[in-house]
């Protein structure tokens, strides 16, 4: 499909300009013109009062036959021989997609022992392709992408998922580029379109201000990286049986060499992602001093401290506290948002928390859309009261 503007009908009224989320419509010589930024989201189609914007279907060259691809695959990454937590989350969503498609769930594991492959089966995989080759112990882009590409070409899965981690986001694009297929980054939700069987890949777009559903309709496999800590883990079944297939890793080459691995752990960052309770502050605090109040509440709750991008950008609190699209994704039992309006880029980083308590002056603030409990009011009134009540209930 493509979008065209009927020059004869266009009056240059500029009505369409603001409808475009990508700034892809410009006025040239008194007429609207769609430029290279167009993502074909079709948002402008209905806004033209003259009906000058039209959609034209055109034929795509046939690339790879969509047929003949079967099964859902997840890439299970390991660090120091242990499965990364995102692997369990991928099994959770992968199992669901495989069941919806009535197909098998397979997992690919590089550089780890068979005991880890057994784990993958108990957590939902039907098959595990595992290679213990030493060249795969440490993450290295070229051998990882070469071997995964070979496996995909051989077994032709219809869906391949990996974690949107530094590892997945680095080498999976090479695999997709080489296979000439689409890859959607950092998905926060995945589902099967019941009519077409296509994978609906949902991700934050535009700096996390909106969500987009992405399709890869004409090529296979459909590939996506999945944001860690968003998907729920699958069911653990001690007795589950599956097949472990040892694969050869012959002929892998690399022009890059990992010389050393240095651990550098920031306590706060770990605290934030592992915390059961998080108290977060945003611009509603008014000034950096406002974080004193956040700290006080965090202390009595034994909570970690989070922050919105706005206050981090303003220098009120260090970046390691930032929750959201460009910060940390958290999945707390209780997330308390104080004075955070709730831009989508913040919401995508915290909305999978179990209980979300939002405190904001503005009843229209989007944070209330994801809240379990909402309190409309001045946080400088509400939070001290809340601290007092919590202390009381604990007999402090």
């Amino acid at each position: 499909m493509s979008l065209i503007i009927d020059i004869d009908k266009c009056t240059g009224c500029e009505e369409c300009l603001s409808s475009c989320p990508f700034d892809a419509i410009v006025i040239k010589e008194g007429k609207a013109f769609i430029n290279e930024y167009c993502q074909f989201c079709m948002a402008c189609l209905s806004v033209c009062p003259e009906g000058a914007i039209k959609e034209i279907a055109d034929e795509k060259p046939e690339r790879v036959k969509v047929r003949g691809y079967k099964g859902v695959w997840i890439f299970a990454e390991q660090r120091n021989g242990k499965l990364a937590s995102v692997a369990y989350e991928l099994l959770g969503i992968g199992r669901k997609l495989a069941d919806d498609l009535n197909t098998e769930l397979s997992s690919v594991l590089f550089g780890a022992a068979e005991s880890e492959a057994q784990e993958l089966i108990k957590w939902g995989a039907d098959k595990v392709y595992v290679s213990k080759d030493r060249i795969l112990e440490k993450f290295n882009d070229e051998p990882y992408s070469q071997l995964l590409t070979t496996l995909i070409n051989e077994h032709r899965p219809e869906i391949v998922l990996a974690g949107a981690t530094p590892i997945g986001r680095s080498f999976i694009p090479r695999v997709a580029a080489g296979l000439r297929t689409g890859l959607t980054a950092d998905c926060t939700s995945l589902a099967i379109d019941k009519e077409t069987g296509n994978l609906l890949q949902i991700r934050p777009a535009f700096g996390g201000n909106i969500m987009a559903t992405i399709l890869c309709p004409d090529t296979r496999p459909q590939m996506a990286t999945v944001r860690p800590r968003v998907m729920k883990r699958g069911q653990y079944d001690e007795g589950k049986k599956g097949e472990i297939i040892n694969i050869k890793a012959d002929g892998l080459t690399s022009r890059t060499k990992v010389l050393d691995t240095v651990k550098e752990v920031s306590d706060t960052a770990i605290n934030l992602q592992d915390a059961d309770i998080i108290v977060s502050g945003g611009r509603g605090l008014g000034d950096p001093e406002g974080f004193r109040l956040i700290e006080e509440m965090a202390e009595i709750l034994g909570a970690a401290i989070g922050a919105s991008r706005a206050v981090v950008d303003s220098g009120w609190i260090p970046y390691r506290h930032q929750v959201g699209q460009t910060g940390k994704t958290v999945c707390a039992k209780i997330y308390i948002a104080c004075g955070i309006s709730g831009a989508v880029q913040h919401l995508v980083g915290m909305q999978s928390s179990d209980i979300i308590i939002a405190i904001n002056k503005n009843p229209e603030a989007p944070i209330f859309n994801v809240a379990t409990y909402g309190i409309v009011g001045d946080l400088y009134e509400v939070v001290p009261l809340l601290i007092k009540k919590i202390k009381e209930s604990r007999g402090l």
Binding site: I34, Y37, L215, L259, V344, E364
Partner: protein, 260 residues
């Protein structure tokens, strides 16, 4: 040393607001900027040139107005700039974008290609590694420090979840860089003068000999099906009354859930 820096002009997404009534983006008055991560890529390119000698060429794919971003890069000290602009590039996803960039890079020739780790409008971080695959060269993502560079190899620190890796690569190589790498310089007065007069080359599909089946919407395996704002969480409870009453109601709820 031939250095190419890939940059993207993006709307300053931090300035974008949502219209609460329509759920659409308010784009008015949102400035266009060089993608912040690409500023670090430009700085890295200039720094390597100062150390090892050579030439820095900045390339960008985008509409004609992206020329501004290239001029800004020249004002910082880049030697040359190429704008990849063609009606047929429209609608490119990361696959088609990377293909297009790789064709331009092949034409120019490079020992080191540097990209920002991701663009703040799309946040995919895919174009760097995909471009390296098309060029059949190695890449290193999330570079936070360049430790050493010689005529035919480079050693860098690559950021990982729990620290960093020290990685060595032969040249040519493609790097994607993070903010921790450096502090981008400000344009000099002389740089601004040069940028004003600089000739920005403009290349289309034919100039880079790109296969028309691999570019733009036609060459893009992925499609945007729709865009939307997130839904309201089901079972949400908005408390009412004075702050005391609301807080009390919340405490009651949390007690029932045994959260206190």
């Amino acid at each position: 040393m031939k250095i190419i820096v890939c940059i993207k002009q993006v709307p300053d997404t931090a300035e974008v607001k949502i219209n609460p009534e329509t759920g659409t983006l308010i784009r008015e008055g949102v400035p266009s900027i060089i993608n912040p991560f690409d500023m670090h890529a430009i700085e890295a390119g200039l720094h390597i040139k100062e150390r090892a000698g050579g030439k820095v060429t900045v390339i960008s794919m985008g509409p004609p107005q992206a020329e501004t971003a290239l001029r800004d890069a020249i004002s910082m000290g880049a030697d040359d700039a190429v704008l990849l602009s063609d009606r047929d590039f429209a609608g490119s996803d990361t696959w088609a974008t990377s293909y297009t960039l790789s064709k331009a890079i092949e034409k120019i020739g490079a020992d080191i290609i540097i990209c920002g780790k991701q663009a703040i409008d799309g946040d995919t971080a895919q174009v760097g590694p995909e471009t390296a695959e098309f060029l059949n060269i190695p890449h290193i993502s999330y570079v936070k420090k360049i430790e050493d560079i010689s005529e035919n190899s480079i050693r860098v620190q690559r950021m990982m979840d729990e620290g960093y890796d020290v990685v060595e690569s032969s040249l040519p190589v493609l790097l994607t860089v993070v903010k921790e790498l450096n502090e981008p310089r400000l344009p000099s007065l002389r740089g601004k003068m040069v940028a004003k007069k600089a000739e920005i080359k403009r290349w289309g599909q034919k100039d880079i000999m790109a296969d028309e089946n691999n570019i733009g919407l036609k060459g893009s395996p992925t499609q945007v099906k729709n865009i939307f704002t997130p839904e309201v969480r089901s079972g949400r409870k908005m408390f009412e009354g004075t702050p005391e009453e609301q807080v009390e109601a919340l405490i009651q709820e949390l007690r029932v859930l045994k959260c206190l």
